[in-house]
């Protein structure tokens, strides 16, 4: 089983990153830090706000690294998982780092790829890099493509590639399966998860790659 996400209190975030309260609240207002990451929990001193540790620290590092280069509004489009570019029509998905040459076998058209289709390709390519067969990766691409709506709020959204093994009268049957859903996802014990992708990270990766390209 995967570890549940490690949480970090707000005060600790400020101490570790050196940002101010003003910055934190401003970035939240702009959507640079998604509402879903503000997790309110009871502690012995009352309610306190926590964040998913890895995500918030990476996001703040990204903002600090990029904020002198881009205006804040532009950063929102690059980083915020809740703002999905709708007008993307990409002709050469393999040129994007999250897809790369591993995506070659997954392409299904020579025309323009929309944002959710690029995310689907990035999932498939990543699965191949982690040892999945092209046929299995294609299943993953198919299911992520159909999750276009869900991709608009990708926090806690996972894409899984699993294998189900069934034994009947001495015959062993193995069938791959792919699914997209919100964590915690539970599969029956006959399933083995081969690849588990955090769609929030994939979406972010594709956005950053597109943003980097736009600047030529």
């Amino acid at each position: 089983m995967e570890q549940p996400e490690e949480l970090i209190p707000k005060k600790e975030v400020l101490r570790l990153t050196g940002i101010s309260y003003g910055q934190l609240y401003r970035w939240k207002r702009l959507g640079l830090i998604p509402e879903a990451w503000f997790i309110r929990r009871s502690t012995f001193t009352g309610q306190e706000t926590f964040f998913p540790r890895e995500k918030i620290l990476k996001r703040i590092a990204d903002i600090l690294r990029l904020k002198d280069e881009y205006p804040l509004e532009e950063l929102v489009r690059l980083l915020s998982p809740e703002v999905v570019p709708t007008e993307v029509a990409h002709l050469d998905p393999l040129a994007l780092a999250p897809i790369g040459p591993e995506g070659r076998e997954l392409l299904w058209k020579s025309g323009e790829y929309a944002f959710s289709e690029l995310v689907a390709l990035a999932c498939g390519a990543e699965a191949i890099r982690r040892g999945a067969k092209p046929g299995e990766a294609r299943l993953l691409v198919e299911v992520v493509r159909r999750a276009e709506e869900a991709l608009r709020a990708p926090t806690d959204l996972s894409a899984l590639l699993a294998e189900k093994t069934v034994e009947r009268e001495g015959l062993l049957l193995r069938a791959p399966l792919a699914l997209v859903g919100r964590e915690p996802l539970l599969l029956d014990p006959e399933c083995r998860i081969k690849v588990r992708l955090d769609l929030e990270k994939v979406v972010e990766g594709v956005k950053l790659a597109l943003g980097g390209e736009g600047r030529g």
Binding site: K10, Y21, Y25, R26, K28, R29, G46, Q47
Partner: protein, 243 residues
Amino acid sequence: MGERNVTISGAGRIEGGSYGTVKIAGSGRVVGDLVAEEFKAAGSAKVEGNLKAQRFEAAGAFRCEGNLELEEGEAAGSLKVVGRVRAKELKLAGSAQAKGITGGYLRAGGSLSVEENVEVEIFRLMGAFEIGGLLSADRVEVELEGRARAREIGGEKIVVRAGQRSLGGFLSQALGFLFGQGSHKELVAEVIEGDEIELEATQARLVRGGKIKIGPGCRIERVEYTETLEVAPGAVVKEEVKG
């Protein structure tokens, strides 16, 4: 697209759609979503849908059943928005109600009641408020003339003062009417966080930030500060933590 202008004088209704200027004097009803360059209402106006306008002015009673999206808006009297308000610049006088407010500059005199969050760049209020969620702004400036409540307040600079009510005339009367004569001036919040915080007449469980001044009439359970803390005589701070 041809710019249609429409005026209601007396009583009337118009269909939603796209307009140049919409003027209502008297009592008017808009049925459906409305997009206008300019929306002006005096008297009583009701929009049964969403309203999007570059310029918005309402005097009297205004009600919107949907969301209100404005570049610049001014309302005097009573403003009720069932949905959310999004405005670059919004000036309110009297009583205002909405589900949520986001935007740039918000100035309010009177009472403000918001179910969820208020998230703007600058928040200036004289009067009273009730905010169910978070009040966040780069600058929060409050002059209390009644009871104020928010779950959380956060931003760069937060200043809360107990109002002096030395104003004469109409405004003073209006405030008296809204809050009741001699009503209690007090802000209650769970958590207040900012880089610079100055408080008066405030009750909070936790105040946290860089430079903090706790003024008269405050009662704070716990203050956490990184730079400086001043506590006025008569203010109560149960616990102070530096760092």
